[in-house]
Amino acid sequence: MKLSKPRIPPLPESQWSAEQRPGFEAAKKGKSAISNAVVFNVMGTLGNHPIAAKKFNVWAFHVMGDTSTIGAREREILILRIGWLCEAEYEWAQHAVIGRACGLSDAEIERIKKGPDAPGWSEHDALLLRAADELHKDACISDATWNGLAKTYNTQQLMDVVFAVGQYNLVSMVLNSFGVQLDEGLKGF
């Protein structure tokens, strides 16, 4: 972890609103909409700014939900790669669990750290990793990578590639800067 204790701690239970309570209880038990892992530390931290969290979740559930047009396995490759590049250990730990549930093998998850040139990737998977690398470095996907992806992806899918990486770059900034600590039972890098 970049920070060993939170700069902004999760909202203590005594301060939960009635509206926040069901979501936080589910997150503590590992029964949230997106994961069967405990995700309270991030949700409870965002809970310090309830109106922002509410609006954030609407957009976050585009990227993680069924209006995103890219396959869940492919989405998780993008998210794990940008989380790795940003050194956001909390993001990595949560999405290693989610990625496994979406069909990524342990070997693939480990190989995401090595990047697009590591042996073993399909051409399409390597393009996804390259897209994340280019967005991280240049805030733009190169012509070669764009045109490679556009051979199989439609317009909405290409847009969702950028949205997934951009959103989880934002999430990495949030996790690193607020000092969100790993939830119980989670394994980091």
Binding site: A52, K137, D143, W146, Q156, G166, Q167
Partner: protein, 222 residues
């Protein structure tokens, strides 16, 4: 003599430009140039739904948004290619640009212009130079955002905002020094909104550049 001094002025201007170029742009010699035509063009008017027509049409000529009259069709029309995403994106985007963001608008715009500059997202810069002027940034301050936190003239607080954006772009994290200094005057929610604002416009920069969104007519770039 006159020639010499104008030459050295030219050199100084070039040096200034070099200094003003973000590290990312300098190191990115091998990357392909940003698209000069859209990769994803704005949705054709003939394809608008009734609801989209109502929302999008006014921005072709300029409509009030964020307290300023803006021509912003090229970005809004491009996002309309993915309507379900656009609707959810707008909810979050309206936190960052709206009245639930706890940062004063002038400070928000310093963050947005700086991350737009670091990402070399000219469309973002063009729009937010107009919005920034509408919320109290001077032309001189807007130009100085390109030079960064060390440029003479910033208040300590403004310099911290610029530094926060720089650190978030480079390390995806605000340093202890910058965080602690900002936290002397900012509340918890304001600290959160600093990161949300920079993160959101880092995402917007990626979208604008990767989709090849072109400047709207009459909007000035860098």
């Amino acid at each position: 003599m006159i020639k010499l001094s104008s030459m050295s002025l030219g050199c100084m201007a070039m040096l200034g430009l070099l200094l003003a170029s973000p590290a990312h742009a300098q190191s990115a010699k091998n990357k392909s140039p940003d698209p000069t035509t859209p990769r994803i063009p704005p949705l054709e008017q003939s394809q608008w739904t009734e609801a989209q027509a109502k929302e999008l049409a006014p921005f072709k000529d300029g409509a009030m948004m964020f307290g300023t009259k803006l021509k912003a069709y090229n970005v809004l029309g491009t996002l309309a290619q993915h309507e379900a995403a656009r609707q959810k994106f707008n909810v979050w985007s309206n936190h960052v640009m709206g009245d639930t963001n706890t940062l004063p608008p002038r400070e928000r715009e310093i963050l947005i212009l700086r991350i737009g500059w670091l990402c070399q997202a000219e469309y973002e810069w063009g729009q937010h130079a107009v919005i920034g002027k509408g919320v109290g940034l001077t032309d001189e301050e807007i130009a100085r955002i390109k030079l960064g936190a060390e440029a003479p003239g910033w208040s300590a607080h403004d310099a911290l905002l610029i530094r926060a954006a720089d650190e978030l772009r480079k390390d995806a994290m605000i340093s202890d020094a910058t965080w602690n200094a900002l936290a002397k005057t900012y509340t918890t929610q304001q600290m959160m909104d600093v990161v949300f604002t920079v993160g959101q416009y880092n995402l917007v920069s990626m979208a604008l550049k990767s989709f090849g969104v072109q400047l709207d007519e009459g909007v000035k770039g860098f």
